[in-house]
Amino acid sequence: MPMAASEIERLIKAAIPDAGVTIRDLAGDGDHYAARVVSRSFVGMSRIQQHQAVYAALGGRVGGELHALQLETAVPSKETSNG
């Protein structure tokens, strides 16, 4: 069942309050999204853990209700340049 991009963003921000969330509707069908999530809370986490944090925020919808979510996570660039 399709899910609105705004709802995806709301759920991510509810769990990761400082998250910068960018969502693209890849196919224009409300069912295939790409999300980029940037948060300081990702500092020190592996990529797997960062993605798991976003999946957790979406509360089990990914892989079910939300079939296709292409996901990219990052820490704010200031943090990366500081190593």
Binding site: R47, I48, Y55, G60, L71
Partner: protein, 109 residues
């Protein structure tokens, strides 16, 4: 018949590079699985695939095994590496090449 978790552990432990996917390497049944195969082929990796569509127990079990909700899932030398997005990021950064060419612990002289 062994529990799904045991079967998964056996597959993951018994293959250096294994991709759990929808469909086969020749006929992937999902865009994400197709992308994962394209990356592995591009790197010239020798890998095994498991078609989760043929095995509902594995299909459910693998999600719990790695605490990861989606398929495909790549495992290298027993370790969960990630799904197709992480594979693409690691491919672009050169990390995946490094990981795949690293000799397995049992190969050493």
């Amino acid at each position: 018949m062994a529990e799904p978790t045991e079967r998964i552990a056996e597959i993951v432990g018994g293959n250096d590079i294994v991709l759990f996917m929808k469909g086969t390497a020749l006929f992937p049944q999902c865009g994400f699985s197709s992308r994962a195969i394209a990356i592995l082929d591009r790197l010239g990796a020798k890998y095994q695939t498991v078609d989760v569509l043929q095995d509902p127990e594995i299909r459910q079990g693998i999600k719990a095994y790695s605490d990861w909700p989606t398929i495909p899932q790549l495992y290298v030398k027993g370790e969960f590496v990630g799904g197709s997005d992480i594979m693409m990021e690691m491919f672009e950064s050169g990390e995946l090449q490094e990981l795949l060419k690293a000799p397995s612990p049992t190969d050493g002289a």
